[in-house]
Amino acid sequence: MKNTETQERIDALLARYVAGLLPEPARVLVDAHLELSTANRGMVASLETLAGDALDRIEPKMLVGADACLERIFEAPAPQIRLPDRTPAKGLLPRAIADFIGMSEDEIPWKTRMPGFRDFELGEIDGCEVELFWIKPGRAIPKHTHEGMELSLVLDGAFNDDTGHYGRGDISVNDETVDHRPVAEKFTPCIGMAVTDGPLRLTGSLGQRLSDILWA
């Protein structure tokens, strides 16, 4: 069972996801989590139901040009429809991540950073640092703390750290107060996606950092 603080942070993450106010890489990470894991699908669906109810109850604000708007809708040609591709993702990468990085698993240009640890840095996107990581079975990542907040999603294998066990589809949340020492489980490399607050104190399109969002 996750500790209370982790649960609160995941709740804050899901709430912002439902509201549509996460930085893009964090939104992709939650999308991928929902694709891989059933754990929070019911909660997300519930919050969306309640958000729909809230929309129904909101104090309405009349459109200045309501009649003209209605006319334009009737007269305009149907918008181009591009329905989402529903074929299940093949292989390791959930569709949300494959679409986001624009490549398949075999195309990932891993770089070895230290023995038993590879990564692929996507750089800073919407105020967040984004990377995929690969940890050799049984390998411990040296202790590191984060500046700001870090979200990780396990895509394959599993790791354990002070806060618990994380397998495919699980999200781990860490902040700079956590002395974080993940150890990949035996037999299978642990592959995942990490989204961290950008180092430059730059903010993305929403003007907020993960730390603001998850400081629950």
Partner: protein
């Protein structure tokens, strides 16, 4: 007939008969609400109206994609408005006509009994929300509907952070309990 049923019926007439009168009724209810929602999230009035038009145009042209067994019309429109706003920020229109949510795209195709569960789940969480103390319900709604951070809520409501956190935690726990009550969803 409840409001939700009436809206679903009108949406059906838009889908099947291109019924302008039915659409106009849905427009008069939902357009001002979507507009209010988008302005609450900080969009300037002119942009909010333009986006409201985009969202309602999806309903006019694609009402057949709305499935009342899966969600209420207001939830369906909420998702479209939310995704449209995300795409406007990203300058990417790829989500505009994706009224379905990623969570409805699990790895395995959705089973018919999952749809039955949706109605039951909605009823359970609505019941859970109505029995929440008002101050908890209000704060959790500020989080998932308006996307406010704990800090923003604490400032706006003039409440200590600890109070905000504990009320939201209690509210989430109640919702989670409601979801877990009768088997997995």
């Amino acid at each position: 007939m409840s409001n939700a049923e009436e809206f679903a019926r009108l949406a059906g007439r838009v889908a099947n008969g291109r019924d302008k009168a039915a659409f106009a009724r849905l427009f008069s209810h939902f357009a001002p609400r979507i507009n209010a929602y988008l302005q609450k999230l900080g969009l300037p009035a002119s942009q909010a109206e333009e986006m409201t038009q985009d969202v309602m145009a999806v309903l006019w042209h694609k009402a057949d994609l709305f499935d009342p067994a899966k969600s209420s019309l207001s939830t369906w429109l909420f998702r479209i408005a939310r995704n449209r706003r995300i795409d406007a920020i990203r300058r990417d229109r790829s989500h505009l006509l994706d009224p379905e949510d990623p969570m409805l795209q699990p790895e395995a195709p959705e089973q018919a009994d999952e749809q039955l569960d949706a109605a039951e789940r909605d009823e359970r969480v609505r019941r859970a929300l109505t029995v929440l103390p008002a101050e908890q319900a209000k704060l959790i709604e500020m989080a998932f509907f308006l996307g406010m951070t704990h800090t923003q809520i604490s400032e706006q409501e003039n409440l200590p952070m600890g109070t905000v956190k504990s009320r939201i935690r209690l509210a989430f726990n109640r919702l989670r309990k409601a979801l877990e009550e009768e088997g997995p969803l």
